[in-house]
C-alpha cells in the first residue's frame, strides 16, 4: 500500500490508521474530474449562466438591456414561429430517435470483425460523418431536386409520375431532413456501438450457437442485452441531438427554414434571433432556456422509464 503522490493535506476526518491511503482515495475522484470540469465551467457554464441572466432582460448584442421579468417568455408563447419550432423539433425526436437507436446497431453488427473487408466498410460508412454540413447540403439538395437523381430514378422506375416535391413541401422538407439526419448519424452511432460490441464476450455467442440460435436470435438474446447501456446512452444522445437539429434543415432549405419558415426548428429560431449585429440576445437566451428545460425533462423521463422497466445495469 503506497501513498499516492497527489495526496495532499485533507480535512477529511478519516480514522488515523487509514489516513495514509484514504487521502489519495477520497480526493482522487475530485482530482480526476477537476481538469475537465475547469474547462466545462469556464467555457460552457459561465457562458450559460450569462444566458440564464440575459433571458430576463431585453439585451441586444451591442447594447446591454434592463431586467424585464418574464416578458420574453410571454412574447415567446405568442410567437407563431416558436410554436412551429416546438412542433418540428418534437416531431424530429419522435421520428428520428428510434432509427438512431436501432439501425446503427444492426449496421455495427454487420461490419464487426477484424477482416480488411469489414475495415473498408467501416471506414466508408463513416465518411458521411466527416463531410462538412455544407457539402452534405449541397449533395442532397441536388439529389432531391425535382430534376435530381432521386426523382429521375423514381420516374424511370415508374414509381412516381410527377416529381416529388422533397424540397418544397412543408412536411416533405422535414422528412427529407430527418432522412439526412439518419444518413449522417448511422456512421456516428455505429462507431459507438462498435466499441460496445467488442466488449461482448465471444463465449456468449458460442453458447447461443450451441443452443441452436440463429443469427437473429443471437442478435436479440446476446447482442441487445450486451449493449443495453450503450443503447440507453445513444437514446439520450440522439434525443438531445434531434431536438436541437439545425444543420440538416438549414442546408436543405438554404438557410430559410422552408416556405414561410414552416420548417423552423428550435435551434434555428435561436440562431435567427440570437446572431448578427442586431441580435436580440435576451430573447434568444429565453428560447435557449426553454430548450434546456424541455430536453432536461425528456432526459429525466427517459431515465425514470429506464429504472422502471429494467434494473440498474451499471
Amino acid at each position: 500500500m503506497s501513498a499516492t503522490p497527489d495526496g495532499g493535506p485533507s480535512h477529511q476526518e478519516s480514522r488515523p490508521a487509514r489516513v495514509h491511503r484514504s487521502l489519495g482515495t477520497t480526493l482522487a475522484p475530485y482530482l480526476f474530474v477537476l481538469p475537465a470540469m475547469c474547462i466545462v465551467v469556464v467555457f460552457v457554464f459561465i457562458a450559460a449562466l450569462n444566458t440564464f441572466r440575459l433571458a430576463f432582460t431585453d439585451s441586444t448584442l451591442l447594447k446591454p438591456g434592463k431586467f424585464v421579468g418574464l416578458q420574453n417568455f410571454v412574447e415567446l408563447f405568442h410567437d407563431e414561429y416558436f410554436l412551429t419550432a416546438l412542433l418540428n423539433s418534437t416531431l424530429y425526436v419522435v421520428c428520428v430517435v428510434p432509427f438512431m437507436v436501432i439501425l446503427p446497431l444492426i449496421l455495427a453488427n454487420l461490419v464487426a470483425g477484424n477482416s480488411r473487408v469489414m475495415g473498408f466498410f467501416r471506414t466508408s460508412f463513416y465518411t458521411p460523418v466527416v463531410m462538412s454540413a455544407v457539402v452534405v447540403g449541397m449533395i442532397w439538395s441536388n439529389l432531391l431536386d425535382p430534376k435530381g437523381l432521386v426523382n429521375s430514378l423514381l420516374e424511370s422506375l415508374h414509381i412516381s409520375k410527377e416529381p416529388i416535391p422533397f424540397l418544397s413541401d412543408r412536411w416533405l422538407i422535414l422528412f427529407s431532413s430527418m432522412f439526412v439526419t439518419i444518413w449522417l448519424g448511422l456512421g456516428y452511432y455505429m462507431v459507438i456501438y462498435l466499441t460496445a460490441l467488442a466488449n461482448i464476450d465471444d463465449s456468449l455467442y458460442e453458447a447461443a450457437e450451441l443452443d441452436g440460435a440463429g443469427p437473429i436470435r443471437q442478435f436479440v438474446s446476446v447482442t441487445m442485452p450486451g449493449v443495453r447501456s450503450t443503447m440507453l446512452l445513444i437514446l439520450m444522445l440522439s434525443t438531445i441531438a434531434a431536438f436541437r437539429v439545425f444543420n440538416e434543415v438549414y442546408v436543405l432549405t438554404n438557410s430559410t427554414a422552408g416556405p414561410g419558415a414552416q420548417d423552423i426548428t428550435m435551434s434555428m429560431l435561436i440562431q435567427r434571433e440570437g446572431t448578427g449585429i442586431m441580435a436580440r440576445t435576451g430573447y434568444a437566451s429565453a428560447i435557449s432556456l426553454v430548450v434546456l428545460v424541455i430536453v432536461g425533462a425528456m432526459l429525466i423521463l427517459q431515465s425514470v422509464v429506464e429504472r422502471w422497466v429494467g434494473g440498474d445495469n451499471a
Binding site: 448584442l61 447540403g137 431536386d145 438557410s255 435567427r272 449585429i277
Partner: protein, 437 residues
C-alpha cells in the same frame, strides 16, 4: 452534436449577393487629408472575400502606393472569407475590436451605425461629399429610429444587373425571343404563355418576395422620413395577387418559395427556369459552369415599370468610431474609394463606381460596346446604375423584415393567407423592428 454544425450556421452564401456596389471619392481626397497634417502610424483595413488570385495584386499595389505617398504609414489589410461575415463583424463589435475600416453593404452598415460603432464621415470629412455620386452618398446616409442623421460610410463599388434568358426554354414553350419583356405586364404575358405550353418549366423565380420587385412596380416601400413602412398599399396587394394567381397556375417553381439567390442560379443553369436576374459578370459564370446554357443565353433589362433602375446595390467602407488613428483611417478609406482607384477595381471585378464622374470614363462605354452577351449585360447595367437607386431601405435588413416578408409572401402564394394579410403582417413586423433599439 455533429461537428459541422457551426460551419453551416454560416453558409449564408446568399448574403454575399444581397449587396454589391457603391460610390467613391475623387482623386484628391487621399492627398487632401495629408496636407493639413502628416499621416503616420498604422490601421487595419478589412475587406469581405476579396483576397484571391484576381484581386490580391490590386489591393497590394493600392496599399504599397498609399504607403509610398505617405511615408511612415502602415496599412494592414485583412480579408474575411465568404461565409459568416455578419457573425464575425458582430463578435468583433461586441469585443470592441472591429477593424479601423470595414467593408460591408448598406444593411450591415446601418446596423453598425445604429449600434453607434461607425463614424459619421459627413462630420469628420465634410468635403468628401462632392467626390461621390449623389446616389451613393445618399445610400450611406442613415437617420431616424435611434440613428443620428449622418453619413456612416464612404460609398465604394456599386452593382446592378440585367435579366438573363434561356432562349431554348423560351422557344420550346412558345415565348417570342424577339421582344423580351420589359414591363410587368409583358412579363406576366410571357410567364402565362410559358406556363400554358410547358408543364414543369417556369419563367423565373420572381414572386414579389423581394423589395426590388415591389419597387420596380412603382410601389412605395417606406415613408419619406423613414419612420413607417407603407408597402401594404392596395397597389402592392394587387401586384402580389398577380403572383399568387401565377403560382396557382403552376407558373412559379414551388422550390423557389424558400429559395434565395444561389438556388435561383442553379435552377437557371439547369434549365428549370427560363430567366433570372443577374449581374454584369454572371455571363462569365454561365460560360464556366453551364456551357450549354451559354450558347442560348440572351440578355435584357430587369423588369421595371419605373423610369430608373431600383435594384442598385451599394458596397461601402465604414470607419470605426473608436479608431485610434482617425486621420489615417479617414484618409485611407477615401483613398480606396477615390475615382482612380475605384476605376481600377471596377475593371477587375466588372462592377461600377460610386465616385463622382468616374462612370463617364471611356472604359465603361468601350466595354459595353463589346459584341457579346457580356458586353450587352454591361451596357444594360451601366444604364441602370447611372440613374438608379436602391429599393430596399437600409433599415429593412434580413432579420428586421426582409426574411419575414419573404416568408409571408410564400404563405400567401401557397394560399395559406391572402395577399393583403401577408403584406399587413410584414409591415407590422418590420415597423415593430424599426423601433427596436
Amino acid at each position: 452534436m455533429f461537428s459541422t454544425k457551426k460551419a453551416v450556421a454560416l453558409s449564408a452564401a446568399t448574403a454575399i449577393l444581397v449587396s454589391l456596389a457603391a460610390c467613391g471619392g475623387s482623386d484628391d481626397s487621399g492627398n487632401s487629408a495629408s496636407k493639413d497634417g502628416k499621416l503616420s502610424g498604422s490601421i487595419t483595413f478589412q475587406t469581405w472575400n476579396l483576397k484571391n488570385d484576381k484581386y490580391t495584386p490590386y489591393f497590394n499595389d493600392l496599399i504599397k502606393q498609399f504607403e509610398k505617398e505617405n511615408p511612415g504609414t502602415t496599412i494592414k489589410w485583412i480579408d474575411q472569407p465568404s461565409d459568416g461575415y455578419e457573425q464575425k463583424l458582430s463578435a468583433d463589435a461586441a469585443a470592441g475590436q472591429l477593424p479601423d475600416i470595414v467593408d460591408a453593404g448598406a444593411s450591415m452598415m446601418y446596423m453598425l451605425a445604429k449600434a453607434g460603432i461607425l463614424m459619421d464621415v459627413s462630420k469628420e470629412a465634410p468635403k468628401a461629399a462632392k467626390n461621390y455620386t449623389p446616389g451613393g452618398w445618399k445610400a450611406a446616409t442613415f437617420s431616424g429610429n435611434g440613428v443620428e442623421k449622418g453619413v456612416y460610410a464612404f460609398p465604394w463599388y456599386v452593382n446592378d444587373g440585367p435579366q438573363y434568358y434561356n432562349t431554348e426554354v423560351l422557344k420550346k414553350c412558345g415565348v417570342s425571343t424577339d421582344k423580351l419583356p420589359k414591363t410587368w405586364d409583358e412579363y406576366f404575358d410571357a410567364a402565362n404563355t410559358l406556363t400554358d405550353n410547358c408543364k414543369g418549366d417556369y419563367m423565373s423565380t420572381m414572386m414579389a418576395n423581394d423589395m426590388g420587385d415591389l419597387a420596380s412596380a412603382g410601389i412605395k416601400i417606406i415613408n419619406d422620413d423613414h419612420t413607417k413602412y407603407v408597402f401594404n398599399s392596395p397597389k402592392a396587394v394587387a401586384f402580389l395577387q398577380r403572383f399568387v394567381d401565377l403560382y396557382k397556375k403552376g407558373g412559379i417553381p414551388p422550390e423557389a418559395l424558400d429559395a434565395k439567390w444561389s438556388q435561383q442560379s442553379d435552377f437557371f443553369q439547369r434549365g428549370t427556369i427560363a430567366s433570372m436576374g443577374g449581374s454584369a459578370y454572371s455571363a462569365d459564370g454561365f460560360k464556366l459552369n453551364a456551357p450549354d446554357l451559354y450558347k442560348n443565353l440572351a440578355v435584357g433589362p430587369k423588369i421595371n415599370d419605373t423610369p430608373h433602375s431600383v435594384t442598385v446595390g451599394y458596397e461601402m467602407l465604414g470607419v470605426n468610431a473608436t479608431t485610434k488613428n482617425k486621420p489615417l483611417a479617414l484618409a485611407f478609406a477615401q483613398y480606396v474609394t477615390n475615382s482612380k482607384n475605384q476605376l481600377e477595381f471596377d475593371k477587375k471585378a466588372a462592377v461600377f463606381p460610386s465616385s463622382a464622374g468616374t462612370i463617364d470614363d471611356p472604359y465603361f462605354a468601350e466595354a459595353a460596346s463589346e459584341d457579346s452577351v457580356k458586353g450587352q449585360a454591361l451596357k444594360i447595367t451601366l444604364d441602370a446604375v447611372k440613374n438608379g437607386s436602391a429599393s430596399r431601405p437600409a433599415e429593412f435588413t434580413d432579420s428586421n423584415g426582409n426574411d419575414y416578408y419573404g416568408e409571408q409572401v410564400a404563405m400567401a402564394l401557397q394560399g395559406k393567407q391572402t395577399a393583403k394579410q401577408a403584406l399587413d403582417k410584414a409591415v407590422a413586423f418590420a415597423n415593430k423592428k424599426l423601433q427596436q433599439k
